[in-house]
Amino acid sequence: MGEVRPDEGLWRSVFSGTQANRARRGTGNRTVAKAFQERDGVTELSVDRYDGLDLREGVRKGDRDAVGRSASGFYGWLVVPASAAEANGRRVVPSPTEENPYHADIVLAFTDRFGPKDHALALATASRWHERPSL
């Protein structure tokens, strides 16, 4: 899919009903930010590049991933513009695989000042909610 454009959306799957409910009302809060936070030590956040694509494949992948995570379900995505994903020292790296040609990573840059929670909050705040469509 080539380089990531600044105006491109990066789609982060949401598997928590609590986060989805909160995101429907607004994304600038800690509950939603948890969707952008991985376990300690992980510096890359998986996202997908679904802009302009038929989302059916993305929904099927989300549903599969939910089962793999033993999550209560796949609820939708938080879509963050690449330009915002690359703020505060973060980078966006396309990382397509054979299984998922749309995959990319947001690579976090931890400093003394800002850690995973702070990056998560910044990413959530810049994102918008996209509900899982029915298939």
């Binding site: 600038g28 509950t31 800002f114 929670k117």
Partner: protein
Amino acid sequence: MSDHAYSAAELTEPRAIRPPTDPAKAADVAFDYDVDIGDNVPLRLSYYAVRVEPRIPSKWLRFHSRNLVRRKTARWTVDAYPQGSLALAAIVATEAPTLAESLALLDRVGELALEEGLDAPHEVASSTARKLLSDMHRVLPGLYDVCPEEGGGVTLSAPSARGTAFTVECDASGAVECVVVLPARMRKATYSDAQDLPDGFIREALEAVSPLAR
């Protein structure tokens, strides 16, 4: 103390109108306004009022209808006014969700912690959050999100305009960490205790993210 909090913001520039001078010819005055109050709206109800210059008795101006905040047009009926033109501006007065509603969320944060497999909120973190929630609600009324953290911490998220956020994390030791996210910048302040809070940083942050300030 009232359980409700009200705030107001002017949504439009004053606009000159010329109401009818014939009492038989009341006129509808419609305002189109463009306001983006964000998704994270701390508002439950809103009422439109008008700022009228020069001041006139209210009998010459009456609400045509009360509108919900998301509508783009507010409409009033202006009755005959013998002195010529007026300037009107739309003002939204908002009834914010109650402080009690936010405190109820704080009371239920233990259930959320259980759902997420986290430790129950520590008593120190909860009491710090309770104090700060009440204090911050006086500065920026609205519904505060409450979220459990690892280690028994509690994070409060202020109501905020789209593209902004302000969180206050209270930990089990009594320490407090505040993060404000504004378009293209992020700031943080840490405190060993909440004794002197809310301080200037918190007040400024609340004003900066306020949905009604933008």
